[in-house]
Symmetry: D3
Subunit: 155 residues, 6 copies
Amino acid sequence: MASKYWEDFSVGDAVTTQSITITEAHLVNWAGLTMDFYPLHMDEEYAKKTIFGGRVAHGPLSFAMSIGLVYMTGFYGDSILAWLGVENMKIPAPVRIGDSIRVIARVSEKRETRHADRGVMKFSWDVRNQRDETVMSLDYVLMMYRRPVAVPGSA
Amino acid sequence: MASKYWEDFSVGDAVTTQSITITEAHLVNWAGLTMDFYPLHMDEEYAKKTIFGGRVAHGPLSFAMSIGLVYMTGFYGDSILAWLGVENMKIPAPVRIGDSIRVIARVSEKRETRHADRGVMKFSWDVRNQRDETVMSLDYVLMMYRRPVAVPGSA
Amino acid sequence: MASKYWEDFSVGDAVTTQSITITEAHLVNWAGLTMDFYPLHMDEEYAKKTIFGGRVAHGPLSFAMSIGLVYMTGFYGDSILAWLGVENMKIPAPVRIGDSIRVIARVSEKRETRHADRGVMKFSWDVRNQRDETVMSLDYVLMMYRRPVAVPGSA
Amino acid sequence: MASKYWEDFSVGDAVTTQSITITEAHLVNWAGLTMDFYPLHMDEEYAKKTIFGGRVAHGPLSFAMSIGLVYMTGFYGDSILAWLGVENMKIPAPVRIGDSIRVIARVSEKRETRHADRGVMKFSWDVRNQRDETVMSLDYVLMMYRRPVAVPGSA
Amino acid sequence: MASKYWEDFSVGDAVTTQSITITEAHLVNWAGLTMDFYPLHMDEEYAKKTIFGGRVAHGPLSFAMSIGLVYMTGFYGDSILAWLGVENMKIPAPVRIGDSIRVIARVSEKRETRHADRGVMKFSWDVRNQRDETVMSLDYVLMMYRRPVAVPGSA
Amino acid sequence: MASKYWEDFSVGDAVTTQSITITEAHLVNWAGLTMDFYPLHMDEEYAKKTIFGGRVAHGPLSFAMSIGLVYMTGFYGDSILAWLGVENMKIPAPVRIGDSIRVIARVSEKRETRHADRGVMKFSWDVRNQRDETVMSLDYVLMMYRRPVAVPGSA
């Protein structure tokens, strides 16, 4: 894994992830792990009577898979210290079983902290399906390691 | 599942979930499902050299399991139409393998929408471990069904 | 989780669970966990030559998911001490991939034990599919906690 | 898989399965699949205050894994038509995380049915842990295929 | 599990396994466990533009499931000490979602080692689908236990 | 995912993957998916009497996770057409629960095929644990896409 620090990112840097197909197995495994068996996601009979007309993926599942898709690009390297949250989430369209999603992640904001060894990085995420429709957008905020400063006179 | 509508919740209503122990299996299954194999969560050798001193649960895992814990209480009934996002997330302490977490969820805000059949509901979540320390807090926002209005003169 | 005791149940009390769709992923995950790869459940080629005409869910899978469906209703609260078994199981129809099942559970019998702190509770379960056909029926027997008796003169 | 029929079993025939260690992962995967997150199995903090002193495996998990252990021996061959239920279940001791279980299964009863192509077979199961203690015993009842009868004069 | 040793196998001995249907859930679970999310296996949009015309199972998945299929026949008994590798693998046709595979395994070579308690056994595997087409062939090599030699004069 | 072709690799190119800790959950999930419940991997009681002194990871599990670890580095980009097999596998030491493994993969051989659009690539893999001991080595062979040739006068 590439060594990467807060200093190595510039506002505007962007990456597009691979795409992945959301399957029934994802929904079943997700519900089992998170205990969220809400019938809109797990009961076809219930779901087909809603405005969605059938089961849709849990929103947090699309969100969590987006985290992994961006991780796998290597874009972060090993710069992450902690997750600080998610802001401005919008879910303009449902993700259905059989849809394929990918993420376009862009550095939207950097800021220093009162700790010299840590910086905050905000990414703007645009999650799109196979028809290039945005299914989720949000700001993803991370605390990152800063590059250690060489001390003059030290080894 | 109990029929419940936006009208059935009042600001201040609260529920405390059961507790669940976070295991190594949760981390492994989570990473596999979401593709987030960041070494802080998956590589003990890497993690023990960080400030955490060992593997910690993915933040989004604690978040997603909290969703399920609240779901299982039956607090929502079948009132949910869609997830609108999460705000003001704070993660004051890590969740480690072997920790047990529970959620205290409280209705913090209600508002009408321009659609007569839908209302917004904001919940304040306090996720605590077995030592009663807050490990995550956030505002969880849902779109809910409103109770159908009886039309005078109709059936 | 609500505090509930053996004393809080009366013969005739009943609950209907949410419904859940049985998927191919349930069968695959079940076989992997329980080591039951019998071809009627796991091999479409074999199964389509049987009287069922295709793969059917393992009977114990429908049974085990019924346990969870009832659990999630909160009907038991935290009253359960131990599982005592299952009686009079009947499986009048197969559960196929894509079927959705729910459980109607009714208290059918209560009895005291020689221990003042425990009571036996028998539930009658009717597991139905989306066409309202019974796919499994059985008596489910639990040992429950009894309500602690206040001792006069104690705190 | 060996062709085997109801005729091929005699009362007293027995098989001992391999042994398998019950892990935390089994409990987590089981709960996720069956939706049974009862805290005795899933919350160490709750469980250690019970008479068990810690998390124990779900009874139906030991039962279902026993089904698979017997299946894997090849004892049944492809003789099974349907599961008819379980009788006389007793759970004399809990199965804890780290215990290893195996099954001794013995044919205890055979009977014909009104259908010439099917017979009922009852097995007596004794599930034991690594200290040779019985942790579960039950009668397992199956409907089996009977050997097709050669018709005189046919090919 | 039957006690079996290197001495109990002869060149030419063979076994045919049961068949199992490869499902979308197998691919999703495999990718999650092994971290191999290559889009040919996980992204229908990508896969349908390749020469395969759609997602195909990971080759190592077919291989690993073949290991289990042979294991379940009981052919090896408890003779295995260690896996020594795989040789001459050929993959003449893809395994698609919905295909059912089985293995014909045949002892092709035996040889002694310099350790009197161990022998090498080579198996030739032919993995076939439901149309009886070979989808994988390989030589599977195992180190096996040899039968302990009775020492004259000892107990 | 970066566009990459057979032409983009040179003998000697190498990559080192992140490390991952092998857990009990990996073994349980692996066995369930592949049906390989050999007691050396799944039964602590059996395994502790072998020369290994306890359960060890399935060799094919370490192999398959190595595939994923290399995939996640992005080293291949989208160059892979098909897996051609594995050669010269050696397993000098067992992988135990709690060990962390990483892979050093190096291009060891390239060769053209009779198809102008495909080339063969051989990688030498060295899988090491947290004590820098080699636990598996092998040659991994892939069929890759070649870079499309611009045709003079076209486009």
